[in-house]
């Protein structure tokens, strides 16, 4: 920087340091995104005629809309499963000794340390017709014929929930850690039982963490191409795979671009709902 040291604003350092990454984003994220938008505004695959045809096609096509709907629903289901299973873990983490805390954190982080592909194949082994669950159930005589677990919505939700769990648990652990433990005791001494304490005190105060966790889990779940495709198989189609087919197999780039933009807007809409909720709940956080 050319200015004299005395007149330097502290913020200018930050700008300078952020420049390389900003440039990187500009070239490899913003520019392709604009190109995508430009491409999606063409009615023909060759990209010669301008128009909103691709968008109209998507929004009037029941099949496309059902793919979008089922993808958004999948995200909601995965987020719900992660929240319900992740909250007790985070809650437990705040109430155990340091040694157990280390173990819990290790278990929470372990999924992040293995490749998504490996984890997904593990789920295929677990959920398959001759997989661990079916073999156990059959040997115990609980079922006669193997249950169909793989290639079902249930299977996809369970596998995705496991894969995305750290994204929910970590923000929750942070949020619950910020709550003064005396508040629990205070609530209890005032005559409130555990459930009242949870719903009136712990849950409202952990809301910033809940919202952060939900946003991350939701965004990750609906865009999880590998797990969705491998566990869902050919019968279940979600937006990332739909997009891939249009772009790669059918070479219909303008339609694939329009799908991308619509998907992006749908995700942004959901995320902004979460952030709005987060901003409203921030009134709770401090003090």
């Amino acid at each position: 920087m050319g200015t004299a040291p005395a007149s330097r604003d502290v913020t200018s350092y930050g700008m300078g340091l952020a420049a390389p990454l900003a440039l990187f984003f500009l070239v490899f994220f913003v520019a392709p995104l604009l190109q995508l938008l430009w491409l999606s505004l063409h009615n023909d695959t060759a990209g010669l005629h301008w128009g909103l045809g691709q968008y109209l096609h998507f929004l009037t096509d029941p099949f496309s809309l059902s793919v979008l709907g089922s993808t958004l629903l999948l995200g909601a289901e995965v987020t719900a499963v992660c929240l319900v299973l992740g909250f007790p873990i985070a809650w437990l983490y705040q109430r155990v000794g340091p040694r157990l805390q280390t173990i819990i954190i290790l278990i929470v982080l372990l999924p992040l340390l293995t490749s998504v592909v490996v984890r997904t194949f593990a789920w295929i082994v677990i959920l398959g017709r001759q997989g661990i669950i079916n073999a156990t159930l059959q040997s115990l005589g609980i079922v006669d014929t193997p249950l169909k677990l793989l290639y079902t919505q249930f299977g996809v939700v369970i596998a995705l929930a496991q894969v995305q769990m750290p994204l929910m648990t970590l923000p929750l652990i942070t949020a619950l850690g910020r709550i003064d433990p005396n508040l629990d005791d205070a609530s209890c001494s005032l005559g409130a039982g555990s459930w009242r304490t949870f719903f009136r005190i712990v849950l409202p105060l952990s809301l910033p963490g809940v919202i952060a966790g939900c946003t991350l889990t939701y965004a990750a779940a609906i865009t999880a191409f590998i797990t969705q495709s491998l566990i869902g198989g050919g019968q279940m189609l979600f937006m990332p795979m739909y997009l891939y087919q249009q772009a790669s197999t059918l070479q219909n780039w303008p339609f694939a671009s329009a799908i991308s933009i619509i998907f992006l807007l749908a995700v942004l809409a959901v995320v902004s709902v979460f952030t709005t909720l987060g901003r409203m709940s921030r009134g709770y956080g401090g003090a």
């Binding site: 003064d180 005791d185 205070a186 001494s189 009136r200 409202p204 401090g286 003090a287």
Partner: protein
Amino acid sequence: MADTPGGRSLVVDAVTHRYHSGALAVENINLDIKGGEIIALLGPSGCGKTTLLRIIAGFIAQTQGRIIIGDHIVDALPPNRRAVGIVFQNYALFPHLSISENVGYGLAARGVDKASRQREAQRLLELVQLPAMAERLPRQLSGGQQQRVALARALAIKPSTLLLDEPFAALDKNLRLDMQIEVKRLQRVSGITTLIVTHDQEEALSMADRVAVLSHGKLEQFGSPSDVYDRPQTLFVNTFVGSSNRMPGVVVSADRTAAKVRLDAGAEIIARPAGGTLTEGGRVTVCIRPEHLQFVGDETGFAGVVGMSLPLGATVVHEVTTADGSGVKISQARIGETRALESGAAVRLAPLAPSLANAFPATL
């Protein structure tokens, strides 16, 4: 046991608590508290006073002993069914609830409807002199105001016992005095049996009807403030409560009421045997408070040399070095023109009365 209308008696019966590690937190504590009394649990940090408070509240299940509130043994009751009000050191107000909701929280847990809750919260806020704060959030209030709210919240459930955990520690000095007066006033109005945990001896002596002094998990003494201050039963109580000169010596002769002690500083004085019988020839520690020493003109008492004089407003404290080289503090009320003592002046000191010098058997 007589119960005043507001407060029930509280008995701590032979309570011992051992941590998981095996270390003793409190050992064989017995307190017999009458309904409506204010009791201070006084001790340095780590003496087990907060553990005892949490046992009474029900947050910790003691290893041995019983807690009896009124006529009921409450050991089997969880904290939310003991009707014990607590004011936490950091107040622990619910940050996301309004002041009114904070105060009404305990009533809501008891199924009181919203309108009655708000009315009661308003009444209590007027009692603690914060009538206009009902709709604010806790963080918009000052420390003293937050504490008043915490008090109102604890009183809302009409507790039989009120527990205050270092309630004034976070307040600055002037505010602390205001709040101490406020708490005492509220306690007198409501008649609730109150237990204050504190490490501040002035607070304990000024607020409590009786003071329980704890050290290392053991009850050292349980008595009125004047008992604790003037007739300490242990060397710890004598030195922890108020300031005290510790002077080593040897017992020349002793009976139950008086002991003649030859101080290492070089004088024979009569002292009160405190905390157990003294044996002739045994080593003792004699404690004399600075305000219980006087300058004497004759040959009684022990000799010393004035080191420094500190005028502390109403009193003047002189530091005197005795013949055995130890330092002794003497404080004098400033009456009229107190004569200034030159540094290096030779003086003789003696206790004001034999009952004001306490002799404790020296621990090896």
